[in-house]
């Protein structure tokens, strides 16, 4: 029993990695260049910046929390935040439509929108 289940584990592992790779491939192929960086706090759009501009702004979320958004050279990133895990700061800068930087503790999403794309509220 032990060897059979380990073999199944490996099949599962490989299948999941293949699925992840396929998803990643499809997503990458679909990525179009972005035009705006949209700031969404708790599901509500609070700011919209052109990627072509240079921005250094603080985003405020519930409870007086802050994330600092920087846009330069057509890329958006979060450079500092007071959330406990700082995963948003570690996430790479984004520039293609559909890419996002997420700060879950602050319910914050910075999303890139492309030309002519307006998401329904």
């Amino acid at each position: 029993m032990k060897n059979k289940s380990v073999r199944n584990d490996i099949i599962l592992l490989v299948s999941l990695l293949v699925i992840a790779a396929l998803l990643w491939g499809v997503i990458s192929a679909l990525k179009k260049s972005g035009e705006y960086a949209v700031v969404i706090v708790d599901g509500v759009e609070t700011a919209r910046y052109r990627l072509s501009s240079d921005v250094n702004d603080v985003i405020y979320s519930d409870g007086g929390h802050t994330n600092t958004l920087v846009i330069e050279n057509g890329r958006a990133s979060i450079v500092s935040a007071d959330c406990p895990d700082k995963l948003c700061v570690k996430q790479r800068s984004i520039s293609k439509a559909g890419e996002t930087i997420i700060c879950l503790p602050h319910k914050l999403v910075v999303k890139i929108e492309g030309k002519g794309e307006v998401d329904a509220p």
Binding site: L12, L87, K107
Partner: protein, 165 residues
């Protein structure tokens, strides 16, 4: 002490251990910058109970641990995410355990990926941003990695620890 009392005592200790592990993992930075990523150390307890006892014990400890941890250290949002992740994770792991197809590593991987999946789907709804789903590949990979680690730890523990209920 009868069986029921021993079981209650075991579950109580398990919840406490899981909560301590939850806290410890906040001290360990994860090298991958993926939203919502965790090591999932507390799941060693749930998975251990799933293997040694049954899904009810594992599920009870999971749910109670999530509730208490969120009450003590979190907020409504963190509770929602932990809860949805934990529910889906326990459901998937319990079902797979029943089939007997996978060892603890396979079950752990499935639990980890299910947990991440549950959280990401909830995030899409709460933050009203479907592009969050684009993080799925990264979450699957991190789920596989953490799942393997936890699965190996649990299979070692399961061999060394004899549970007398």
């Amino acid at each position: 002490m009868n069986r029921k009392t021993r079981l209650i005592a075991l579950l109580g200790v398990s919840v406490a251990a899981a909560m301590v592990l939850s806290f410890i993992e906040t001290l360990i930075p994860v090298p991958f910058a993926v939203p919502g990523i965790k090591l999932g150390l507390a799941n060693t307890v749930s998975l251990f109970l799933l293997i040694k006892l049954d899904w009810k014990a594992a599920g009870a400890v999971s749910i109670i641990r999530v509730l208490l941890t969120a009450l003590l250290f979190g907020n409504a949002a963190s509770l929602a995410y932990s809860f949805s992740g934990a529910l889906l994770s326990i459901a998937v792991m319990s079902l797979l355990k029943k089939t007997g197809v996978f060892s603890s590593v396979g079950i752990s991987i499935s639990g980890a990926v299910a947990h991440n999946f549950g959280q990401i789907v909830l995030a899409v709804f709460l933050l009203e941003t479907e592009q969050i789903l684009w993080w799925l590949p990264a979450l699957i990979v991190s789920g596989v990695i953490t799942g393997i680690a936890i699965g190996i730890v649990v299979s070692i523990l399961a061999k060394k620890i004899v549970l007398k209920i």
